[in-house]
Structure formats: structure tokens, C-alpha cells
């Protein structure tokens, strides 16, 4: 694994919300205009909100947009009792200013030159940093096969669904397999059960590649189950990078 010289994130700066777009019943995309330096696919931003009395709340959000595109897209899931996610879902609107810091993170990142084959495994809103990788890959069209396995409760809760299906339709090196845990599958190649070791084996066999880089993002329970299955299926642990969420409110 190559370690690039790390870039320290700049200090807090203002960003303007350009628009907020609903993606699913529980996820909105927040498009920001800012002077932040360029990011890598997989990195995140820190966001800071300030109340009139000076009270502040900070959270981290993964970046969904590809490096090199105009502006930054975050995708924010509405959390029960969410303090900051509720702001993005209920209060924020185009033209508002928030504070941001970043981009941050030098491990859960994929660059074109890292090559592949690349296996991406998302649980729920864990798709967000992986979407930046799919978009970076799609923009560069390298000779690198990518398989995205995307687990969600239902077909309706798949964030970026149409874009992912469109990418698969136009790019033979990219495949997406959806597995829904609380609703029926929609396509013959999709599945409707939890990702366990036997399902991972089936998907790896069907893909016919040995992944060089694996990125798994989702809840801790999801990531634990998937990575344990991958290791049992002889994917070297050193090739697997994880990002787990939890504890947000």
C-alpha cells in the first residue's frame, strides 16, 4: 500500500449550499460551493453549524462527488434524533452558508493509479464514499473492472440508483449487484438476502476476478459480517479497507 504525502486540511471556511435534492425518502444530496482544495474519492468533510448563542455542532460527511467536478456533493441520511442531519433535511435551503473543513482521510481513498480490479461493498448510506469512487472511475474509464455490491432494505432506498444502473448500461467493466433485505429484488441478477459468506462467494465467482482493492462501507454490523466473510473466502485482509458509521445523533 502506497502512502501519499498527506495534505493537511485547511482551516474552517464558509461554503454556500447551492441546492438540496431528495435522493430517497431518508437521504438528501447537499451541493456545496466552496474554496476547498481538491479531494480524493472516498474522503470526507467536517461540517460545523453555529447557533445564535455560539453553540456549535460538528459532524463528518462523506463526499459523493468525483474529484475534479465543480462543487461538492454530500449525501446526508436523516437520523432519528439527528441534530445536524435534521438541519439539512428540515431547515437548510439554497443560499445558506455553513462552515466546512477538509477534505479529510488518507486511507479509505481510491485513485485511478491505484488500479484494480476493485470490489466496492456498500450497506445503506455507506454508498456515499463508494459513489465518489464509481464516479471517478467512470470519468476516467480506465481498464479496471469494478464490481459494486449494494445492500439496502428496499429498492426504493437505493441512493444514486438510476445513475448506477445507467453507468452499468454504458460501461461494460462496471457491474452493480443489488441485494435487498426487506423487499423483493427487481432484476434477475439481483438478490434479496443478507450478504453472508456464501453469497459473497457466489458473487466473486460470478464476477470471475480477484479483487486487488476492496472497500466496504456501512454500519458496523454490516462491515463486520462482510469483512469476516471476505477473509474466510481468502481475500487478504490487507486488501480490505473499511469505513463504519454509528454513534451519530
Amino acid at each position: 500500500m502506497t502512502v501519499q504525502p498527506s495534505v493537511a486540511p485547511a482551516r474552517w471556511q464558509e461554503a454556500v449550499i447551492e441546492r438540496i435534492v431528495p435522493q430517497t425518502p431518508r437521504v438528501v444530496s447537499v451541493f456545496l460551493r466552496s474554496g476547498l482544495q481538491a479531494h480524493l474519492a472516498g474522503q470526507h468533510l467536517d461540517v460545523r453549524l453555529t447557533a445564535p448563542d455560539g453553540y456549535q455542532a460538528q459532524r463528518s460527511y462523506s463526499i459523493a462527488s468525483a474529484p475534479g467536478t465543480q462543487g461538492i456533493e454530500l449525501a446526508v441520511e436523516r437520523l432519528e434524533q439527528g441534530e445536524v442531519s435534521a438541519f439539512f433535511h428540515e431547515v437548510a435551503r439554497a443560499g445558506d452558508t455553513i462552515e466546512v473543513r477538509g477534505p479529510i482521510g488518507g486511507h479509505f481513498v481510491w485513485r485511478i493509479e491505484d488500479g484494480g480490479p476493485v470490489l466496492l461493498i456498500a450497506g445503506g448510506s455507506g454508498i456515499v464514499p463508494l459513489m465518489a469512487m464509481v464516479r471517478a472511475w467512470s470519468a476516467a474509464q480506465p481498464n479496471t473492472p469494478v464490481l459494486l455490491v449494494y445492500s439496502a432494505r428496499t429498492w426504493e432506498e437505493l441512493v444514486f440508483r438510476d445513475e448506477l444502473l445507467d453507468t452499468q448500461a454504458h460501461q461494460p467493466d462496471f457491474s452493480v449487484v443489488v441485494t435487498t433485505t426487506r423487499g423483493p429484488r427487481r432484476r434477475s441478477e439481483d438478490l434479496d438476502r443478507r450478504l453472508d459468506r456464501s453469497l459473497l462467494r457466489e458473487l466473486l465467482t460470478r464476477w470471475g476476478r480477484v479483487p486487488r482493492h476492496v472497500y466496504v462501507c456501512g454500519s458496523n454490523v454490516f462491515v463486520e459480517a462482510v469483512t469476516a466473510g471476505l477473509v474466510l473466502e481468502a481475500v487478504p485482509a490487507g486488501r480490505i479497507r473499511t469505513e463504519r458509521f454509528g454513534g451519530e445523533n
Binding site: 502512502v3 498527506s6 495534505v7 493537511a8 486540511p9 460545523r48 453549524l49 453555529t50 447557533a51 445564535p52 453553540y55 456549535q56 455542532a57 460538528q58 459532524r59 463528518s60 441534530e83 438541519f87 431547515v91 437548510a92 445558506d96 452558508t97 455553513i98 462552515e99 479529510i104 482521510g105 488518507g106 486511507h107 458496523n220 462491515v223 463486520e224 469483512t227 469476516a228 471476505l230 477473509v231 485482509a237 490487507g238 480490505i240 479497507r241 473499511t242 463504519r244 458509521f245 454509528g246 454513534g247 451519530e248 445523533n249
Partner: protein
């Protein structure tokens, strides 16, 4: 400058005083790790203190479990912004480890090294004086693998990435040598009360 329409949800005054800047309280115990959770075999588990490449002392699991034990209760702070209050840990303090092994630190810095090839740098002084332990129990139960079990470093006065999970040893280094996250944009020291999250934070 205030964010339009944001009022926030403040913690109580006593909780607020215990939260370093930019942190919020969680009741969960979130898991962060760079990769899969390694599964340790206690029959082959070993903990080693080294000076550069030279081993100074090592313990098997049975030997480690026989060492004097320390209990610590308090708050922990993760650089991803959650803090967890009133946690209880037990294990072997670094003071006791050095004393039992007769180790006089040969340098002022070390790397805590893990079974998953993770490492993180610390000043030796931050591990002494009852400030750190190798923890093997959390909330009076064996430490779960996803939280670093069977044994992890616990240095609760620094951001929690310094408390290396799945620890296999401490290695003295001549200089303060960056570890895994310190090479990837995170602060060399990581004091939550000074909000030293990222490289070059003051």
C-alpha cells in the same frame, strides 16, 4: 457567525463541561478500524516491548493475565467527534509493565503496534504516571474483538486512535515517528482538549 435556522440540541451543563471542543456525546460504542477485525488466538498471543528491533520483554496471554491489574473509569473521545462518558476498563498499567520487566525507557517516544499492522506514535511520558494501560476488559467483561480485544492500548487523555486496538507490542523509537493515521493527515499528538485532530492543528 450563526448558521441560519440552526438552534442545536445542547447537552446538560455537567455533560457539556466534560466534552472537548467539537465533540458530542454518544451512548453507543461506535467501531472504527482501517480494515477487518483480526481474530486472535490466545494460545499464540504475545505482547512484546522492544527497543527498535531488539526485544526487551515479552509475555504470553497466561503470563499477561497474571500481572497486577489496574481499573480506570472515565470518558473517551474519538477524533470522528463522538465522546463516550463513564467507561470502565481494566488491564495492566504501563507503569506496572515497565516495573515488572525492569525497563528504563531508552528513548522518549514509542510506537504502539497492532496485529493488523496498525501503529500509532506516543511520547513515553504520556503512558506513565497512571495515564495508560493495556486493557483486556471493558465494563467488567472480556474486551470484544471489534473493540480491540483481546487487548488494546488505553490512553484516554488523547484521541482514541492513539489507543491502538489488537495490540501486540510497544516499540521504543529514537525519534517521534509518525504511525498509520499520523501519516494520513492526523495529528502527531492528538490532545482532544486542544482539538488537535489533523496535521498542523496547533
Amino acid at each position: 457567525m450563526a448558521t441560519r435556522g440552526f438552534s442545536g440540541r445542547r447537552p446538560s451543563q455537567d455533560v457539556a463541561l466534560r466534552l472537548p471542543p467539537g465533540q458530542y456525546r454518544t451512548e453507543d460504542f461506535p467501531v472504527l478500524a482501517k480494515g477487518p477485525t483480526p481474530r486472535a488466538d490466545l494460545a499464540t498471543w504475545k505482547f512484546t516491548i522492544s527497543d527498535a528491533a531488539r526485544p526487551l520483554a515479552s509475555w504470553t496471554w497466561a503470563q499477561f493475565e497474571a500481572l497486577p491489574r489496574t481499573i480506570w473509569r472515565g470518558d473517551i473521545h474519538c477524533v470522528t467527534k463522538w465522546s463516550k462518558l463513564d467507561t470502565t476498563w481494566s488491564g495492566v498499567s504501563i507503569d506496572d509493565l515497565f516495573q515488572v520487566a525492569g525497563i528504563a525507557p531508552p528513548s522518549g517516544y514509542l510506537l504502539a503496534e497492532s496485529y493488523d499492522d496498525y501503529d500509532t506514535n506516543l511520547p513515553v511520558a504520556d503512558l506513565l504516571g497512571a495515564k495508560a494501560m493495556i486493557a483486556t476488559r471493558f465494563a467488567d467483561a472480556p474486551l470484544e474483538p471489534e473493540h480491540g480485544g483481546p487487548a488494546r492500548l488505553l490512553v484516554p487523555h488523547l484521541y482514541f486512535w492513539k489507543s491502538a486496538k489488537w495490540i501486540k507490542g510497544l516499540r521504543f523509537t529514537a525519534q517521534d515517528q509518525a504511525g498509520f493515521w499520523e501519516l494520513r493527515g492526523y495529528h502527531m499528538y492528538g490532545d482532544p482538549w486542544r482539538e488537535q485532530r489533523y496535521t498542523n492543528d496547533p
